[in-house]
Symmetry: C2
Subunit: 157 residues, 2 copies
C-alpha cells in the first residue's frame, strides 16, 4: 500500500470513491460533480482542492482523502478535510489512518492553525475512529445552511 | 449606508465585529485571530478570504460579511459565508440583508454552484431570517469535528 499525492489521471477512480461515500451517507443523488469539473477545480490556474490516494499492489486506488483550506475568522487558516474514503472491501486495514495522518502532515507543513471536518451524527464507526485515534473535538450545535445557484440567481436578478 | 468591498484599512474594525459576533455566540474566548493575521490571510500573495463592509454616513463600519471559496466533492466550487455581522445598535435596519445579497451576487459572478454557511441551533432570529428571505435549506445532521495544531504536531512528530 502506497500513500501519495493525487494526480489528474487519478480523478475518475477518486470520483468513484466519492460516489461510494455519498451512497453510504444516503446521498448518492446529491453528487453533481464530474471528472471534467474536478480537473478544472483541482488542476486549473487556481486549484481549490488537493488530495491524496492510497494505491494497492495492483495499482488500484482503494482510498482517498480530499482537502482544501478554509478560513476561520476565529482561528485563521485551517485545513478542511472534505472527504476521506476507503473502498468497502479494504476497510479496517488501517488505510484510513494512513490517509488521515498524511492529511494532518500537510496541514502542519502549510502552517494551518488546525484541521476541521464534519461527520454525520449517526456514523458511529467514524465518530469512534476520530475520538479513539485523534481525540477530536466534536460540536453538534451547528446547522449547515445552503442555497442553490438557481436561488442565488433569482435573488440577484 | 454604503456596501463596498473591504480593504486592508478596514480590518481593525472588522475584527471588532468578528469579536462582537463571537461574544453573541458565547465563544469570545475562541477568537485567536489578529489584524496582522488577517492582513496576511486576506491581502498576501494568495488571499484565502474576501469581505464586504457596510459603512454609515459617519464613515463607521457597522457590518461585515466575510467569505471564502470552499470545495464540495458533491457540488464543486461553492461560496462559503464565514461570518455575517451587523453591530448591535444597527440591527433590524436591513443592513444584514444588503450584505447577504451582495455576498450572493459575488457567488453568482464567481460561478459558484451554491452558497453555504452555518448557524447555531439556538439562534432562532438568524434561522428565521435565512428561511424568510432566502428559503435556505437547513441540515442539522452533521457534527463539526476539529483538532488543534498542537494535536496535529504531536501526531506527525
Amino acid at each position: 500500500m502506497t500513500i501519495r499525492e493525487g494526480i489528474k489521471a487519478d480523478l475518475p477512480q477518486v470520483l468513484k470513491l466519492i460516489k461510494e461515500l455519498a451512497a453510504y451517507e444516503k446521498a448518492a443523488d446529491q453528487v453533481d460533480n464530474t471528472v471534467e469539473m474536478m480537473v478544472q477545480d483541482g488542476f486549473g490556474d487556481n486549484p481549490i482542492f488537493g488530495f491524496y490516494v492510497a494505491v494497492n499492489d495492483k495499482d488500484k486506488i482503494v482510498g482517498t482523502s480530499i482537502y482544501y483550506y478554509r478560513y476561520s475568522t476565529w482561528k485563521g487558516k485551517r485545513l478542511y478535510l472534505e472527504d476521506i474514503v476507503v473502498t468497502e472491501s479494504e476497510r479496517g486495514s488501517g488505510i484510513g489512518k494512513l490517509l488521515f495522518d498524511q492529511t494532518i502532515k500537510k496541514g502542519v507543513e502549510e502552517n494551518c492553525s488546525g484541521m476541521v471536518w464534519q461527520v454525520l451524527d449517526w456514523n458511529e464507526q467514524a465518530i469512534n475512529f476520530y475520538k479513539k485515534y485523534y481525540s477530536a473535538h466534536l460540536d453538534g450545535e451547528w446547522i449547515n445552511c445552503s442555497i442553490s445557484i438557481e436561488q442565488m440567481r433569482a435573488i440577484v436578478s
